[in-house]
Structures are given as C-alpha cells and as structure tokens.
C-alpha cells in the first residue's frame, strides 16, 4: 500500500520523538548512575577506612600481647617499648574506629563492649607486667593461667571481626553496586544506541520508501503524460481531419448552394428575357439581383477558410459590381461608386446586409435619376461602439414621404425585414439633393 505524505510526516515525527526520548533517557540514566556511583565510592572509602582502623586495632592489640608475653617469658625490658607503643596505638585506633562508626547506631553496643574488653585486656596485661617487674613470677603466671587474657583477646577479636565482616559486606555491596551501575550504564547505552539506530533506520527506510514511491509516481505521471500527449496528438489529428472534412463539406455545400442559386438566377434571367412585359421583366430582374446577392455570399463562403464570417469588402464589392452590370444592361444610366471598409461579419447577417444593399442600390438606380444620369454611392464604415454604418445615397430627386410608392413596395419591406434580422436601425437622412439611407448595425450578434 502506498504511503501518504501525512503518514510519512507523522511517522517521522513519532520516530524522532522516540529517538529524542531515548537520548533524554540515556542522559538522565547516566546522571542518575553517576550519582549512585559517587555514593558507592563514598561508601567504599568510608568502609575502607573503618576496616583499616579495625585491622590496625587488632594488630596493635596482638603486638601488645606478644610484647607482654615476651617480657613475661624473658624478663627482658626491651619488650616493654613495643608494648607501650602498641598500647598507645590501640587507644588511638580505637578512637578512630569510634569516630568512624559514631553515626552507626547498630555499632553502639558493640563499641561499648569493645571498649570495656580493651580496657580489661590492657589492665590484665599491665597487671602481669607489674607482677613480673616486682619479681612476683608466680603471681604473673597465675594471671596467665586464668586464661582471662585469652578470653578477652578472643572477645576483642569477636567484635573486631564483626566490624570487619560487616565493613566487608558494605565494601562488597558498594563494589557490587558500582559494578551494577557500570552494567546498567553499558546496557542503557547499548539499548539506547540500538533504539536510536532503529529510529534512524526507520526514518531512513520510510524516507527511502517514500522517495521511491514519489519517483515511481513521477515516472507513472510522466508515462501517463506521454501517453496523454500521444492520445491528444492522435485526437487532434482526428479532429483536424474531421474539421477538414467538415470544412470541405461546408465548402461543398456552399459551392452547391451558390451554383444552385446561380442556376436559379440564370433561370430567372432566362425567364425575364422570355417575357415581353417590361414590368414583369423588371420584377424578375430584381429577383435575380436578390438571388445573386445571396448566392454571392455562398460563393464567398466556399472560397473562405472560415465559414462563420464573411469579409464584407470582398463580398459587397462583388455584389455591387454584379448589380451595376445588371442594372446597366437593363438600361440604367446611373453610375455606382462604393467605399467599403474591410470588416468581418457573421454569415447570416452578411446575407441580410447584401440583400438590403441590393434593394437600396436597385431603388436608387430605378428612382433617383428619372433622366438616367447620376451617381449612386455606397459607403460602409465601422463605428466606435462595435457597430457599423451603411449609407446608400444619391444626388437624385429625393424622397417624398407623403407621395405614393412608385413600385410594389416589396423592396422597402425586404430592406426593413433584413434590417430587423440584423438588429439594425434604418433611417433616411435629409439632404439638399437626393436621398441617403443609413443603416446602423452591430458587427456581432448580441450575446
């Protein structure tokens, strides 16, 4: 199962926390064990001093006894010097021992008894020495034969061995404690180190695993991207092909529509030529002009790369040129001049505009100049607000609003219908001479 970044963060924090606590534990344990080691060391020193004083005391007592026996056996006073020294050492070592054990309640009775025994022993030895010095050999021997001296020495040894033994126990306990401390320290360090190694190992493994999974995910993304790009490329090619086919189909359709409309226009023209009635011929001629205007749009479309819009300058120029030719052929004497700004407009609206211009120009040719000479001008220009204006003007007889319509009125209705489709406003401007029809329309459809 893949690991999440949250899991990695939490696990890493947890592991580092464990490592930190372990380190803290090692430090705390080390401090604690150091304190214990210090206490044990003090115990060792005190016990060693106590033991030393006990042994020295026993040695002094034995030296005193052996010196006394030497004097009793030989009468040689050279033994009295070490005897006196040993007695003094006995008292000094006992004082030391008493000071060292002053705080040990369990030794109070023992020390009292030991003090009494030492006092009796020294007195027993002094008595025998005194008898010997007074040449009372038998009395001195009698003192020895009571075995009191041995009993006192045995009792002193009993107490001293008790102190030494208990001191040895303290020494042993302190040394064992120190050894235990060292063992504890060793184990805590080893275990702590092990935990830290495990923590570091855990973090490393986690990081490596996470990094491996990140790399793996990145490789998978790269692979997916590469696959996606390939699929997009194929899809794009498919779409381009489909678009080309669609465009081709649209062009074909426009071509066929344009050809069909041209055929219809030719058929209307043939029909018009076959008629003798001039009015009918004019009607058909106008119809032909309208059809041509529509056909011209389709003609533009199948030669254009973008069927959604129409280049108005090329389209309208073609419509006006053809209309001028047609109107000349029908006997019209006026001339046509136009100024078309290069603008683009949606196809449907362009058809409406083309039909509207055809109607307005045809009207101008037919009615502005009754004598047949004059100029009709067409101007298309863009406005600031995304709109454009179309002006068809002449210098003819002008337009009388109150007069009756000179034709059927169809052309005017068509113009209004086209203007309505284009969401345009049509107005006729007052001029000193002639007429000016102005259509203002948006270049784009309202959203």
């Amino acid at each position: 199962m893949p690991i999440s970044s949250r899991f990695v963060v939490r696990s890493t924090i947890l592991l580092l926390g464990v490592g930190f606590l372990t380190l803290l534990g090692i430090v705390a344990t080390t401090i604690w064990l150091s304190e214990r080691a210090q206490y044990s060391f003090s115990e060792v020193v005190e016990a060693r001093e106590t033991r030393g004083a006990s042994v020295e005391l026993r040695t002094a007592l034995q030296t005193a006894e052996s010196s006394q026996r030497g004097y009793l056996a030989t009468g040689n006073e050279i033994y009295l010097a070490p005897y006196a020294t040993a007695k003094a050492q006995t008292m000094r070592h006992f004082s030391t021992l008493k000071r060292l054990l002053a705080n040990e309640a369990s030794f109070t009775v023992l020390l009292d008894r030991l003090e009494a025994v030492i006092g009796q022993k020294l007195k027993e030895m002094d008595d025998a020495v005194a008898f010997k010095s007074a040449l009372r050999e038998r009395d001195a021997l009698a003192v020895l034969q009571t075995n009191r001296g041995k009993a006192l020495m045995d009792e002193a040894n009993l107490f001293l061995s008790g102190i030494i033994r208990r001191t040895d126990d303290r020494l042993t306990a302190a040394v064992v404690e120190q050894r235990a401390n060292a063992a504890w320290l060793r184990w805590v360090t080893v275990l702590g180190g092990l935990v830290i190694v495990l923590v570091v190992g855990g973090v490393t493994i986690l990081t490596l695993q996470y990094a491996r999974e990140v790399v793996q995910a990145r490789d998978e993304v790269h692979a997916l991207n590469a696959s996606l790009e390939e699929r997009v490329k194929i899809r794009t090619a498919d779409l381009a092909l489909a678009r080309d086919r669609a465009e081709m189909l649209v062009q074909e359709v426009n071509h066929r529509v344009a050809n069909s409309l041209a055929m219809v226009s030719s058929m209307v023209q043939l029909q018009a030529r076959a008629l003798t009635d001039q009015a009918a011929k004019d009607v058909l001629s106008e119809t032909q002009a309208r059809i041509y205007a529509i056909a011209s749009v389709h003609k533009r479309l199948y030669t254009s790369k973008d069927v959604r819009v129409v280049d108005l300058d090329a389209y309208l120029a073609a419509v006006l040129d053809q209309l001028a030719v047609t109107l000349k052929n029908e006997g019209g004497g006026a001339s046509l001049r136009y100024t078309i700004e290069p603008l683009k407009m949606p196809t449907d609206r362009s058809i409406n505009l083309g039909v509207a211009i055809t109607e307005l120009v045809t009207n101008a040719f037919k009615y502005a100049y009754p004598d047949g000479n004059g100029e009709v001008r067409v101007k298309l220009a863009s406005l600031k607000n995304g709109s454009a204006e179309l002006i068809v003007e002449d210098d003819g007889i002008g337009r009388n609003e109150n007069a009756l319509a000179k034709g059927t009125g169809l052309g005017t209705r068509i113009v209004h219908a086209m203007a309505s489709n284009m969401e345009a406003k049509i107005e006729y401007l007052e001029r000193a001479r002639g007429t000016a029809a102005r259509i203002v329309f948006p270049l784009k459809e309202a959203a």
Binding site: T146, N147, A151, D154, L158, S161, I163
Partner: protein, 372 residues
C-alpha cells in the same frame, strides 16, 4: 576460681610428696594395643570393700548418665554404690575421694573438677589396690576418653552435609569451644578441618564461653550476636549450644533452617531434636550410661582379679530424629548394650590390659587413641 588456686597448689605439692610412695605409672605417652578379653587373671586386691564410688564434678546430664550406668553395674555385680557430688568444688572433691580412700572403697570412678589437684590423690587410691576409673584426665587404671577429633569430625560432617544440602553451601558458623579442658581441643580442630574445606563457610566466632554450661553458652551467644547478628550454624558441647539456642530465641534470630549441633547427647538437646522444628538438628552422643556401666563392670572385674582395659574410647554416635529411639533405649538399659558384643563395639573401644598385679602400669599421661 582465683581464690581457690593457692589451696589447690598446696594440695598439689602434698600429692607430689605422697607420690613417692608408689610407682608413677606410664607417664610417657605410648600407643596401647587393643584390649585382650582373654588375658590371664591375676590376684584380687586384698582388704578392700565392695564399694563403687563415683566422684562426680557436677550434676550435668552427662555425668548423671555416668552415675546411672555405674549404679546399674554395681547393682548387677553386688557392689555398694556411692555418689559424692563436688558441685564443681575441687577442694570438696579431694576431701570426698580422701574419705573413700579411708573407707577402703574398692573402686573409685572420678570426673575431676580440677585434674591436676586430684591426680596425686587418685594415685594413692591406685596404690591402695583399688580400681580407679577416670572420665578423661589421668591417672587411672582405666582411663575413659572419647576420640575427641573423631567426635568433633562426626558433628562437623553432619553440619557440613546440612550446609551443602540446605544452605546452598553458605553459612556463618559459630564454634563454642572449651578452653578450660585442653584435651577437648581436638574436637574443635576437627570442626575447623572439616569447615575450612568449604569456601562458602565463614567461622564468624571461634570462642570459649567463660563457663561451659547453658548459662555460659547463653551469655557468649548474646555477645556474639552483637558482633554477628546473622548466624546459621552453632557447634559445641550440648550445654553451651542449648544456651546459644536460648540466646538466638531471645534475640528472635532463631530459624528452622539453622543447624545447631552439640556433643554429649544431653536430654534437653535430644528433646529439641525430637521436637522436629527446632534449629537443634543433631547431637553427638557419648553415651555416658554405657561407658559408666562398662567402668562399673571393669571395677568389679578388677576386684575379682581379672584383667581390665587400661583405656577405653566412648565412640561418638550422631543422634538425629531417625535414630533417637534406639539411643534412648540404650540410655535406659546400658547393661543390655554391654552384654551384646556388637552393640557394645558400636559404643566402646578398649585398649591395653591391666590387673591388680600389674597396676604399676596404670596410665598417667593424657591418653588418646588419636595420638600419633
């Protein structure tokens, strides 16, 4: 004790003067051969009464057993039996033995209070033709001794087995010795020899009570506990070990897993062993009625002109709960033990031969079968 020493010394000197009246006996230590029960008879001592007297040092149980055996033997052999109790008074004992000498008593068995002061008087008794048996010190026609080293060893080995088996080889041991009787020192030498081979054993005290009785043991153990509060094993004579047990109980330091063992088979020690849950685990019996009975029999034989042993070992028997019944039966009827050779040999071992005609060969040195 110090007050009676001058008097004892005076008596001792008096004894030395009188000792010139007769042979000194065997004063140089020798190794005695085994007793020959079929040795030829000799003359019977003339002019002596069929009186068997026991000069008893004190009323400790061990000596009561001796008296019991002697009384049984006297009864079996038709002797008048007397007990003179010195109550640890050496001077009184001397007077009591002098009285027996004056009465022409045929046999005196003594447990000396102060052997050096009594020895000259016992020599006079021997010179008078009477039979003298002593419990341990010389001089004597028949000297009763115990193989002290063996006795101590039997007890120490029992303790060692217990330490190994129940105390995991570790023990703090107290040896309550007996300084006033130096011939008992081999007992404690044996104990030290056995215990020194055990690395887990520490002899925390090796000391003699001032008096070898229960009170002495009590006082000494109280002192020992001041210096060594934890004691696992106590060895010594039964009386002192019983005192030590009392001290342990007073100090609430007694435990069922302790090993207290003594020598002498004292009835109180036996009762402790029989109780089953006492720290007192063993006693080495020197069956005093058995050897007392034997000494009585030998006294009668002597009076009849028969050859008797010069010395006799009372062999140690380790008393435990397992064999205590047999021990008590033998204690009550020592005559039955003596008449059964197998059972007698389990208790007694006899050395040398002596009779009235060869009484100048009496033992006058501290004899021990263990002397090399």
């Amino acid at each position: 004790m110090l007050r009676v020493l001058p008097a004892l010394c005076a008596l001792l000197f008096a004894g030395v003067v009188s000792a010139q009246d007769g042979p000194q006996g065997i004063t140089t230590p020798v190794v005695l051969p085994s007793f020959d029960p079929s040795a030829p008879s000799c003359s019977a001592p003339p002019g002596l009464q069929k009186i068997l007297t026991f000069a008893q040092d004190n009323e400790r149980q061990f000596m009561q057993g001796v008296a019991k055996g002697l009384a049984a033997a006297a009864k079996d052999r038709g002797f008048q039996f007397r007990v003179v109790l010195a109550n640890n008074d050496p001077r009184l004992m001397i007077e009591q033995v002098q009285a027996q000498l004056a009465d022409r008593a045929g046999a005196v068995v003594a447990a000396p209070v102060h052997p050096p002061s009594l020895a000259p008087l016992l020599q006079q008794v021997i010179w008078s033709g009477a039979y003298v048996g002593t419990v341990v010190p010389p001089p004597a026609v028949t000297l009763l001794n115990a193989p002290q080293y063996l006795t101590g060893r039997v007890l120490a080995e029992a303790a060692a087995a217990y330490i190994r088996g129940r105390l995991n080889g570790k023990a703090n041991v107290v040896l309550l010795t007996h300084d006033s009787l130096q011939f008992l020192s081999p007992r404690f030498a044996a104990m030290r020899d056995v215990l020194q081979d055990m690395p887990g054993v520490t002899i925390v005290a090796d000391i003699s009570p001032l008096t070898v009785n229960k009170e002495g043991g009590l006082n000494m153990m109280r002192t020992i506990l001041i210096a060594h509060p934890d004691v696992d094993v106590v060895l010594g004579a039964d009386t002192v070990v019983l005192g030590a047990l009392q001290a342990l109980r007073e100090a609430k330091k007694s435990r069922p897993d302790q090993f207290l063992g003594g020598i002498d088979g004292e009835p109180e020690a036996v009762a402790e062993i029989k109780s089953g849950n006492s720290p007192y685990k063993a006693s080495v019996s020197l069956s005093s009625p058995v050897f007392g009975y034997a000494l009585g029999q030998f006294a009668a034989d002597w009076m009849a002109g028969k050859s008797v042993p010069q010395a006799m070992d009372i062999l140690p028997s380790l008393l435990t709960q397992a064999n205590i019944a047999q021990y008590e039966a033998d204690f009550e009827n020592p005559g039955a033990v003596f008449t059964d050779p197998n059972r007698r040999d389990a208790y007694l071992k006899m050395y040398g031969n002596i009779c009235f005609d060869t009484r100048d060969r009496y033992v006058n040195f501290p004899w021990s079968s263990e002397r090399k």
